[in-house]
Symmetry: C2
Subunit: 223 residues, 2 copies
Protein backbone atom coordinates (compact mmCIF):
# COMPACT_ATOMS: atom_id res chain seq x y z
CA UNK A 1 0.00 0.00 0.00
CA UNK A 2 2.73 2.47 1.01
CA UNK A 3 4.60 1.59 -2.18
CA UNK A 4 1.55 2.46 -4.29
CA UNK A 5 1.09 5.64 -2.31
CA UNK A 6 4.73 6.57 -2.90
CA UNK A 7 4.19 6.07 -6.63
CA UNK A 8 1.18 8.39 -6.54
CA UNK A 9 3.16 10.99 -4.63
CA UNK A 10 5.97 10.81 -7.17
CA UNK A 11 3.44 11.24 -9.95
CA UNK A 12 1.96 14.22 -8.11
CA UNK A 13 5.35 15.89 -7.72
CA UNK A 14 6.14 15.32 -11.39
CA UNK A 15 2.83 16.86 -12.41
CA UNK A 16 3.52 19.95 -10.30
CA UNK A 17 6.99 20.30 -11.82
CA UNK A 18 5.47 20.12 -15.31
CA UNK A 19 2.89 22.70 -14.38
CA UNK A 20 5.58 24.97 -12.91
CA UNK A 21 7.43 24.57 -16.22
CA UNK A 22 4.36 25.83 -18.08
CA UNK A 23 3.99 28.77 -15.68
CA UNK A 24 7.69 29.67 -16.02
CA UNK A 25 7.40 29.50 -19.78
CA UNK A 26 4.37 31.80 -19.79
CA UNK A 27 6.15 34.32 -17.58
CA UNK A 28 9.24 34.23 -19.81
CA UNK A 29 7.24 34.56 -23.02
CA UNK A 30 5.03 37.36 -21.70
CA UNK A 31 8.08 39.49 -20.92
CA UNK A 32 9.88 38.43 -24.11
CA UNK A 33 6.82 39.57 -26.06
CA UNK A 34 7.01 42.92 -24.28
CA UNK A 35 10.73 43.40 -24.90
CA UNK A 36 10.71 42.24 -28.52
CA UNK A 37 7.39 44.02 -29.20
CA UNK A 38 5.77 40.84 -30.48
CA UNK A 39 1.97 41.02 -30.17
CA UNK A 40 1.57 37.56 -31.66
CA UNK A 41 3.70 36.08 -28.87
CA UNK A 42 1.64 37.95 -26.26
CA UNK A 43 -1.54 36.46 -27.71
CA UNK A 44 0.08 33.00 -27.54
CA UNK A 45 0.59 33.47 -23.81
CA UNK A 46 -3.06 34.44 -23.38
CA UNK A 47 -4.17 31.38 -25.37
CA UNK A 48 -1.86 28.97 -23.55
CA UNK A 49 -3.48 29.76 -20.19
CA UNK A 50 -6.12 27.12 -20.90
CA UNK A 51 -3.49 24.38 -20.66
CA UNK A 52 -2.39 25.60 -17.22
CA UNK A 53 -6.00 25.85 -16.05
CA UNK A 54 -6.73 22.34 -17.27
CA UNK A 55 -3.67 21.06 -15.46
CA UNK A 56 -4.81 22.67 -12.21
CA UNK A 57 -8.07 20.71 -12.40
CA UNK A 58 -6.23 17.45 -13.11
CA UNK A 59 -3.78 17.91 -10.24
CA UNK A 60 -6.61 18.74 -7.83
CA UNK A 61 -8.31 15.52 -8.88
CA UNK A 62 -5.08 13.56 -8.45
CA UNK A 63 -4.76 14.94 -4.90
CA UNK A 64 -8.34 14.03 -4.04
CA UNK A 65 -8.00 10.56 -5.55
CA UNK A 66 -4.82 9.90 -3.59
CA UNK A 67 -6.44 11.09 -0.36
CA UNK A 68 -9.51 8.92 -0.93
CA UNK A 69 -7.67 5.78 -2.04
CA UNK A 70 -4.76 5.70 0.39
CA UNK A 71 -5.96 7.76 3.36
CA UNK A 72 -2.38 8.81 3.98
CA UNK A 73 -1.16 9.87 7.40
CA UNK A 74 1.07 12.53 8.92
CA UNK A 75 3.83 13.57 6.52
CA UNK A 76 2.18 12.21 3.37
CA UNK A 77 -1.06 13.93 4.26
CA UNK A 78 0.72 17.25 4.72
CA UNK A 79 2.51 16.75 1.43
CA UNK A 80 -0.79 16.36 -0.43
CA UNK A 81 -2.39 19.32 1.33
CA UNK A 82 0.64 21.31 0.27
CA UNK A 83 0.36 20.07 -3.30
CA UNK A 84 -3.18 21.50 -3.38
CA UNK A 85 -1.80 24.88 -2.34
CA UNK A 86 1.16 24.82 -4.74
CA UNK A 87 -1.23 23.92 -7.52
CA UNK A 88 -3.27 27.01 -6.71
CA UNK A 89 -0.17 29.22 -6.58
CA UNK A 90 1.02 27.96 -9.97
CA UNK A 91 -2.34 28.61 -11.58
CA UNK A 92 -2.31 32.16 -10.23
CA UNK A 93 1.16 32.65 -11.68
CA UNK A 94 -0.25 31.67 -15.05
CA UNK A 95 -2.96 34.31 -14.58
CA UNK A 96 -0.32 36.92 -13.80
CA UNK A 97 1.56 36.01 -16.98
CA UNK A 98 -1.70 36.50 -18.90
CA UNK A 99 -2.11 39.89 -17.23
CA UNK A 100 1.42 40.83 -18.37
CA UNK A 101 0.62 39.69 -21.91
CA UNK A 102 -2.54 41.83 -21.88
CA UNK A 103 -0.58 44.88 -20.72
CA UNK A 104 1.88 44.08 -23.53
CA UNK A 105 -0.86 44.14 -26.15
CA UNK A 106 -1.83 47.60 -24.85
CA UNK A 107 1.77 48.80 -24.73
CA UNK A 108 2.41 47.76 -28.34
CA UNK A 109 -0.22 50.25 -29.52
CA UNK A 110 2.29 53.04 -28.85
CA UNK A 111 6.02 53.44 -29.57
CA UNK A 112 8.55 52.16 -27.07
CA UNK A 113 8.64 54.45 -24.03
CA UNK A 114 12.18 53.56 -23.01
CA UNK A 115 14.56 50.62 -23.34
CA UNK A 116 13.44 48.02 -20.81
CA UNK A 117 16.27 47.02 -18.49
CA UNK A 118 14.86 46.34 -15.04
CA UNK A 119 11.66 44.53 -16.05
CA UNK A 120 13.48 41.72 -17.92
CA UNK A 121 15.89 41.33 -14.99
CA UNK A 122 13.01 41.21 -12.56
CA UNK A 123 11.25 38.63 -14.74
CA UNK A 124 14.38 36.45 -14.84
CA UNK A 125 14.61 36.58 -11.08
CA UNK A 126 10.92 35.73 -10.67
CA UNK A 127 11.23 32.79 -13.08
CA UNK A 128 14.22 31.47 -11.17
CA UNK A 129 12.27 31.74 -7.93
CA UNK A 130 9.44 29.67 -9.44
CA UNK A 131 11.89 26.97 -10.52
CA UNK A 132 13.82 26.97 -7.24
CA UNK A 133 10.66 26.84 -5.11
CA UNK A 134 9.54 23.72 -6.96
CA UNK A 135 13.00 22.16 -6.67
CA UNK A 136 12.88 22.89 -2.93
CA UNK A 137 9.51 21.13 -2.77
CA UNK A 138 10.55 18.05 -4.74
CA UNK A 139 13.82 17.67 -2.84
CA UNK A 140 12.24 18.80 0.45
CA UNK A 141 15.22 21.12 0.80
CA UNK A 142 14.62 23.91 3.34
CA UNK A 143 17.95 25.64 2.54
CA UNK A 144 16.90 26.06 -1.07
CA UNK A 145 13.49 27.25 0.08
CA UNK A 146 15.07 29.87 2.34
CA UNK A 147 17.15 31.15 -0.57
CA UNK A 148 13.90 31.72 -2.50
CA UNK A 149 12.41 33.71 0.38
CA UNK A 150 15.50 35.89 0.51
CA UNK A 151 15.26 36.72 -3.20
CA UNK A 152 11.79 38.16 -2.66
CA UNK A 153 13.33 41.33 -1.23
CA UNK A 154 15.32 41.88 -4.42
CA UNK A 155 12.11 41.61 -6.46
CA UNK A 156 10.39 44.11 -4.16
CA UNK A 157 13.31 46.50 -4.63
CA UNK A 158 12.98 46.23 -8.42
CA UNK A 159 9.25 46.90 -8.15
CA UNK A 160 9.90 49.95 -5.99
CA UNK A 161 12.59 51.29 -8.31
CA UNK A 162 10.49 50.77 -11.44
CA UNK A 163 7.54 52.51 -9.78
CA UNK A 164 9.59 55.58 -8.89
CA UNK A 165 11.34 55.79 -12.24
CA UNK A 166 8.08 55.61 -14.17
CA UNK A 167 6.49 58.26 -11.96
CA UNK A 168 9.33 60.56 -13.09
CA UNK A 169 8.65 59.75 -16.74
CA UNK A 170 5.00 60.65 -16.31
CA UNK A 171 5.78 63.91 -14.54
CA UNK A 172 8.08 64.96 -17.38
CA UNK A 173 5.81 64.05 -20.27
CA UNK A 174 2.06 63.50 -20.11
CA UNK A 175 2.28 61.50 -23.36
CA UNK A 176 4.19 58.89 -21.35
CA UNK A 177 1.38 58.36 -18.83
CA UNK A 178 -0.57 55.45 -20.31
CA UNK A 179 2.56 53.49 -21.12
CA UNK A 180 4.10 54.21 -17.73
CA UNK A 181 1.00 53.01 -15.86
CA UNK A 182 0.93 49.85 -17.95
CA UNK A 183 4.60 49.19 -17.19
CA UNK A 184 3.96 49.77 -13.47
CA UNK A 185 1.22 47.14 -13.67
CA UNK A 186 3.60 44.70 -15.43
CA UNK A 187 6.05 45.21 -12.58
CA UNK A 188 3.29 44.58 -10.02
CA UNK A 189 2.34 41.34 -11.78
CA UNK A 190 5.96 40.14 -11.62
CA UNK A 191 6.04 41.06 -7.96
CA UNK A 192 2.92 38.91 -7.38
CA UNK A 193 4.57 35.98 -9.18
CA UNK A 194 7.55 36.25 -6.84
CA UNK A 195 5.11 36.32 -3.90
CA UNK A 196 3.53 33.08 -5.05
CA UNK A 197 6.98 31.45 -5.32
CA UNK A 198 7.76 32.73 -1.83
CA UNK A 199 4.51 31.21 -0.52
CA UNK A 200 5.56 27.85 -1.95
CA UNK A 201 9.02 28.14 -0.39
CA UNK A 202 7.53 29.05 3.00
CA UNK A 203 5.25 26.02 2.81
CA UNK A 204 8.28 23.79 2.11
CA UNK A 205 10.05 25.13 5.19
CA UNK A 206 6.92 24.51 7.25
CA UNK A 207 6.55 21.02 5.87
CA UNK A 208 10.16 20.08 6.63
CA UNK A 209 10.87 21.99 9.80
CA UNK A 210 7.37 22.08 11.19
CA UNK A 211 7.48 25.74 12.02
CA UNK A 212 5.62 28.50 10.36
CA UNK A 213 7.70 31.29 8.92
CA UNK A 214 4.78 32.47 6.84
CA UNK A 215 3.46 35.92 7.36
CA UNK A 216 6.72 37.32 8.61
CA UNK A 217 7.71 38.74 5.28
CA UNK A 218 4.24 39.64 4.12
CA UNK A 219 3.42 40.40 0.53
CA UNK A 220 3.04 44.06 1.13
CA UNK A 221 4.00 46.05 -1.86
CA UNK A 222 6.91 48.35 -1.14
CA UNK A 223 6.34 51.40 -3.30
CA UNK B 1 -17.80 8.35 13.60
CA UNK B 2 -19.79 10.21 10.93
CA UNK B 3 -21.44 12.26 13.67
CA UNK B 4 -18.06 13.34 15.01
CA UNK B 5 -16.92 14.11 11.49
CA UNK B 6 -20.04 16.19 10.91
CA UNK B 7 -19.25 18.17 14.05
CA UNK B 8 -15.72 18.82 12.82
CA UNK B 9 -17.06 19.95 9.45
CA UNK B 10 -19.50 22.32 11.14
CA UNK B 11 -16.64 23.71 13.20
CA UNK B 12 -14.58 24.12 10.04
CA UNK B 13 -17.36 26.01 8.28
CA UNK B 14 -17.85 28.27 11.27
CA UNK B 15 -14.13 29.04 11.41
CA UNK B 16 -14.13 29.98 7.72
CA UNK B 17 -17.15 32.25 8.22
CA UNK B 18 -15.37 33.98 11.11
CA UNK B 19 -12.26 34.40 9.00
CA UNK B 20 -14.33 35.79 6.12
CA UNK B 21 -15.82 38.24 8.63
CA UNK B 22 -12.32 39.43 9.53
CA UNK B 23 -11.38 39.78 5.85
CA UNK B 24 -14.59 41.70 5.08
CA UNK B 25 -13.94 43.99 8.03
CA UNK B 26 -10.38 44.70 6.86
CA UNK B 27 -11.59 45.49 3.36
CA UNK B 28 -14.30 47.81 4.72
CA UNK B 29 -11.94 49.58 7.11
CA UNK B 30 -9.17 50.00 4.53
CA UNK B 31 -11.55 51.85 2.21
CA UNK B 32 -13.20 53.74 5.06
CA UNK B 33 -9.72 54.93 6.11
CA UNK B 34 -9.14 56.12 2.56
CA UNK B 35 -12.46 57.95 2.28
CA UNK B 36 -12.36 59.54 5.73
CA UNK B 37 -8.60 60.24 5.44
CA UNK B 38 -7.87 58.40 8.67
CA UNK B 39 -4.23 57.22 8.75
CA UNK B 40 -4.68 55.67 12.18
CA UNK B 41 -7.46 53.45 10.84
CA UNK B 42 -5.25 52.42 7.92
CA UNK B 43 -2.52 51.41 10.33
CA UNK B 44 -5.07 49.39 12.30
CA UNK B 45 -5.86 47.39 9.16
CA UNK B 46 -2.17 46.71 8.63
CA UNK B 47 -1.77 45.58 12.25
CA UNK B 48 -4.87 43.38 12.22
CA UNK B 49 -3.49 41.25 9.39
CA UNK B 50 -1.66 39.11 11.95
CA UNK B 51 -4.99 37.83 13.29
CA UNK B 52 -6.07 36.73 9.80
CA UNK B 53 -2.73 35.07 9.18
CA UNK B 54 -2.91 33.23 12.47
CA UNK B 55 -6.39 32.05 11.63
CA UNK B 56 -5.21 30.69 8.28
CA UNK B 57 -2.67 28.51 10.08
CA UNK B 58 -5.28 27.24 12.56
CA UNK B 59 -7.80 26.40 9.84
CA UNK B 60 -5.16 24.56 7.83
CA UNK B 61 -4.36 22.52 10.92
CA UNK B 62 -8.04 21.82 11.52
CA UNK B 63 -8.37 20.53 7.95
CA UNK B 64 -5.33 18.29 8.30
CA UNK B 65 -6.48 16.97 11.67
CA UNK B 66 -9.93 16.16 10.28
CA UNK B 67 -8.41 14.39 7.29
CA UNK B 68 -6.06 12.37 9.49
CA UNK B 69 -8.60 11.45 12.18
CA UNK B 70 -11.67 10.65 10.10
CA UNK B 71 -10.27 9.76 6.70
CA UNK B 72 -13.43 11.13 5.11
CA UNK B 73 -14.67 9.99 1.74
CA UNK B 74 -16.18 11.49 -1.41
CA UNK B 75 -18.23 14.60 -0.61
CA UNK B 76 -16.69 15.24 2.82
CA UNK B 77 -13.20 14.90 1.38
CA UNK B 78 -13.99 17.42 -1.35
CA UNK B 79 -15.45 19.76 1.21
CA UNK B 80 -12.22 19.73 3.23
CA UNK B 81 -10.04 20.16 0.15
CA UNK B 82 -12.21 23.11 -0.72
CA UNK B 83 -11.91 24.54 2.79
CA UNK B 84 -8.12 24.55 2.32
CA UNK B 85 -8.57 26.60 -0.84
CA UNK B 86 -11.10 29.01 0.63
CA UNK B 87 -8.79 29.52 3.57
CA UNK B 88 -6.03 30.53 1.17
CA UNK B 89 -8.35 32.88 -0.74
CA UNK B 90 -9.46 34.59 2.47
CA UNK B 91 -5.89 35.11 3.63
CA UNK B 92 -5.04 36.69 0.27
CA UNK B 93 -8.02 39.00 0.63
CA UNK B 94 -6.58 40.14 3.94
CA UNK B 95 -3.30 40.86 2.16
CA UNK B 96 -5.12 42.92 -0.44
CA UNK B 97 -6.82 44.94 2.30
CA UNK B 98 -3.36 45.59 3.78
CA UNK B 99 -2.17 46.72 0.36
CA UNK B 100 -5.10 49.15 0.18
CA UNK B 101 -4.27 50.46 3.66
CA UNK B 102 -0.67 50.99 2.58
CA UNK B 103 -1.76 52.92 -0.51
CA UNK B 104 -4.02 54.94 1.81
CA UNK B 105 -1.09 55.90 4.04
CA UNK B 106 0.69 57.16 0.90
CA UNK B 107 -2.39 58.97 -0.39
CA UNK B 108 -2.89 60.81 2.90
CA UNK B 109 0.46 62.54 2.43
CA UNK B 110 -1.17 64.76 -0.18
CA UNK B 111 -4.51 66.61 -0.34
CA UNK B 112 -7.58 64.82 -1.65
CA UNK B 113 -7.35 64.43 -5.43
CA UNK B 114 -11.09 64.17 -5.99
CA UNK B 115 -14.18 63.05 -4.08
CA UNK B 116 -14.15 59.25 -4.13
CA UNK B 117 -17.38 57.86 -5.53
CA UNK B 118 -16.64 54.69 -7.47
CA UNK B 119 -14.03 53.19 -5.15
CA UNK B 120 -16.36 52.99 -2.11
CA UNK B 121 -19.10 51.50 -4.31
CA UNK B 122 -16.67 48.97 -5.72
CA UNK B 123 -15.51 48.12 -2.19
CA UNK B 124 -19.09 47.58 -1.02
CA UNK B 125 -19.71 45.26 -3.93
CA UNK B 126 -16.50 43.33 -3.26
CA UNK B 127 -17.38 42.98 0.43
CA UNK B 128 -20.82 41.67 -0.43
CA UNK B 129 -19.26 39.15 -2.81
CA UNK B 130 -17.02 37.89 0.00
CA UNK B 131 -20.00 37.45 2.31
CA UNK B 132 -22.21 35.85 -0.35
CA UNK B 133 -19.50 33.45 -1.49
CA UNK B 134 -19.11 32.18 2.07
CA UNK B 135 -22.90 31.91 2.48
CA UNK B 136 -23.01 29.92 -0.74
CA UNK B 137 -20.34 27.61 0.66
CA UNK B 138 -21.98 27.08 4.04
CA UNK B 139 -25.43 26.51 2.51
CA UNK B 140 -23.98 24.66 -0.50
CA UNK B 141 -26.17 26.92 -2.62
CA UNK B 142 -25.09 26.99 -6.28
CA UNK B 143 -27.65 29.69 -7.19
CA UNK B 144 -26.12 32.07 -4.68
CA UNK B 145 -22.65 31.12 -5.93
CA UNK B 146 -23.64 31.91 -9.52
CA UNK B 147 -24.92 35.33 -8.43
CA UNK B 148 -21.45 36.04 -7.01
CA UNK B 149 -19.77 35.07 -10.29
CA UNK B 150 -22.08 37.41 -12.18
CA UNK B 151 -21.19 40.36 -9.96
CA UNK B 152 -17.54 39.98 -10.90
CA UNK B 153 -18.23 41.68 -14.24
CA UNK B 154 -19.60 44.76 -12.45
CA UNK B 155 -16.41 44.98 -10.41
CA UNK B 156 -14.30 44.69 -13.55
CA UNK B 157 -16.31 47.52 -15.12
CA UNK B 158 -15.64 49.72 -12.09
CA UNK B 159 -11.94 48.92 -12.30
CA UNK B 160 -11.91 49.78 -15.99
CA UNK B 161 -13.80 53.03 -15.48
CA UNK B 162 -11.61 54.13 -12.56
CA UNK B 163 -8.49 53.37 -14.60
CA UNK B 164 -9.64 55.52 -17.52
CA UNK B 165 -10.85 58.37 -15.36
CA UNK B 166 -7.60 58.57 -13.44
CA UNK B 167 -5.55 58.50 -16.64
CA UNK B 168 -7.44 61.65 -17.66
CA UNK B 169 -6.64 63.30 -14.33
CA UNK B 170 -2.96 62.57 -14.82
CA UNK B 171 -2.95 63.89 -18.38
CA UNK B 172 -4.49 67.16 -17.23
CA UNK B 173 -2.27 67.77 -14.23
CA UNK B 174 1.11 66.19 -13.56
CA UNK B 175 0.69 67.01 -9.85
CA UNK B 176 -2.13 64.44 -9.82
CA UNK B 177 0.10 61.60 -11.03
CA UNK B 178 1.27 59.99 -7.80
CA UNK B 179 -2.19 60.07 -6.25
CA UNK B 180 -3.82 58.78 -9.42
CA UNK B 181 -1.44 55.82 -9.67
CA UNK B 182 -2.06 54.98 -6.02
CA UNK B 183 -5.83 55.09 -6.58
CA UNK B 184 -5.46 52.86 -9.65
CA UNK B 185 -3.62 50.37 -7.45
CA UNK B 186 -6.39 50.53 -4.82
CA UNK B 187 -8.89 49.72 -7.54
CA UNK B 188 -6.74 46.79 -8.71
CA UNK B 189 -6.59 45.42 -5.16
CA UNK B 190 -10.39 45.56 -4.90
CA UNK B 191 -10.62 43.80 -8.23
CA UNK B 192 -8.36 41.02 -6.90
CA UNK B 193 -10.57 40.65 -3.81
CA UNK B 194 -13.59 40.16 -6.05
CA UNK B 195 -11.59 37.57 -8.01
CA UNK B 196 -10.90 35.62 -4.85
CA UNK B 197 -14.62 35.69 -3.96
CA UNK B 198 -15.40 34.49 -7.48
CA UNK B 199 -12.92 31.63 -7.08
CA UNK B 200 -14.72 30.55 -3.93
CA UNK B 201 -18.09 30.74 -5.67
CA UNK B 202 -16.81 28.70 -8.62
CA UNK B 203 -15.51 26.08 -6.23
CA UNK B 204 -18.95 25.87 -4.57
CA UNK B 205 -20.60 25.28 -7.94
CA UNK B 206 -18.04 22.60 -8.72
CA UNK B 207 -18.56 20.97 -5.35
CA UNK B 208 -22.34 20.87 -5.70
CA UNK B 209 -22.80 20.31 -9.40
CA UNK B 210 -19.58 18.44 -10.09
CA UNK B 211 -18.76 20.47 -13.14
CA UNK B 212 -15.98 22.91 -13.54
CA UNK B 213 -16.95 26.40 -14.53
CA UNK B 214 -13.61 27.74 -13.42
CA UNK B 215 -11.43 29.39 -15.95
CA UNK B 216 -14.27 30.48 -18.14
CA UNK B 217 -14.40 33.98 -16.74
CA UNK B 218 -10.72 34.34 -16.07
CA UNK B 219 -9.29 36.98 -13.79
CA UNK B 220 -7.91 39.01 -16.61
CA UNK B 221 -7.92 42.66 -15.84
CA UNK B 222 -10.09 44.58 -18.22
CA UNK B 223 -8.40 47.94 -18.62
Amino acid sequence: MQRHLDQELTQLKEALVRMAGLAEQSIGLSVKALVSRDAEMARQVIASDDAINQMEIEIDELCLRTLALYQPEAGDLRLIAMALKINNDLERMGDQAVNIAERTVELLKEPLLKPLIDIPRMAELAQRMVKDSLDAFVQLDPAKAKAVCEQDDAVDRYDDQIFRELLTYMMEDTKAITRSVNLILVSRHLERIADHATNIAEDVIYLVEGRNIKHHAQDRSPA
